[in-house]
Amino acid sequence: MSLDMYEILEIPDSSERELQDLFHEKGWGDGLPMIAPTRDRVEEMLSASQDLDLDEVIASLPPRNGVATRRIIAVNAVMAGCRPEHFPVLVSAIRALSAPEMNLRGVNATTHCVAPLLIVHGKAARDGNYNSGLGAFGPGNLANATTGRAVRLTLLHVAGATPGIGDASTQGSPAKYSYCVAENLDSSPWGGYARTVGIDDESAVTVHCGEAPHNVHDMESSEPSAILDKVASAMTSWGQNNAPISQGEYFIALCPEHAATCAAHGWSRSDIASYLFNKAMVNVGDARKAFELRAWAPWQHALEDTDNMSMTEKAGNIRIFVTGGAGKHSCVIPSWGMTKSVTVPVLP
């Protein structure tokens, strides 16, 4: 263990107000009060990682090219209010963020309002008391709120995604404070999402860099197609970043009741994705009029103006998972566009 590589500040005992002022003066934080990352608190956060190399580089985070070791991630976890049991999910999410296909440099630096959504799967979600039920996207759950916030603090402090410096987002986003949800495995008729992307571990986390949720309200339908037509409608709005970018992914967060309706009629995840691929269509000529810049698959450029095409180039870009509690609201989470989601096992 080498503490020489970390900056440790000696600060006078002070009031909570003075402490928060000090953080602010140093340019740290998301605007909300933070917990002081004292040596004792950071050690406690790392208590389950003592057999591991605490200075191992988990990720190098652009645009600052900041070095995210377990210890520096733990510092940010303390500041966000995380508990030690949440730390492996956080470390794994940071690992996922550094995957090349995530394109974190673009995610952090763009003018778009993208934020990394964490979806916690399996045992880690249960053991960490992540909320996958009523109000899963928040507020009110410590695990969801603080893990999502710790990701943001790590991006602000280590990656340098400071608004106006490393983050050019025109309007920002409330999702940039904290954006973490758990998969409702008990209410998923199709098993866990992670297995659909080849992760069989008992705990996993998916990171999807996307927009804030677009609501899908359907109280009346008893047929999957009627519910999914509304999902398709939410997928085809021109304002989202996926509209001119055909490689973009859509995460469809179905509430348990919408999922149950689909499953009761024998629809699988891939049935839903295929249906949405064929329903979330726009006119090619309208798309050409709407966007001067189009990042389309080569075959899409050959389409006639009178043709229709799906909002994404393949059904596999439409990802289905279940979250939430009672009620009939699902949501669509379009991506930033030039990014791919990553699912990794939860490892300490």
Partner: protein, 91 residues
């Protein structure tokens, strides 16, 4: 009270800036258009001025997606064909 700074260290830069070119006269010029709206308008006008006033020769114009690094093929082409590249434009 002792606290950690939450920023940590930075790694080695993956790239460094090229050395400034002291004299532009007679060099070949390339454009790397990031395809943001109006980028090409700005880059073309700058190129015109440089050709007119400094004697550069416009030899190659390439494009890239604004959200991604330029493909290696584009960078290799520019590095072979030109000595000066104009690039970068925001929205």
């Amino acid at each position: 009270m002792e606290i950690y700074a939450p920023t940590g260290n930075t790694g080695e830069p993956q790239n460094s800036l090229a050395s400034p070119i002291p004299v532009l006269n007679g060099l070949s010029l390339g454009i790397l258009d990031n395809t943001k709206p109006n980028a090409r308008v700005l880059l073309d006008r700058l190129a015109d001025r440089l050709v007119e006033r400094v004697g550069l020769t416009l030899a190659l114009a390439e494009t890239k997606n604004a959200a991604l690094a330029a493909p290696n093929q584009v960078l290799e082409s520019l590095s072979k064909e030109v000595q000066v590249v104009l690039t970068a434009s925001a929205d």
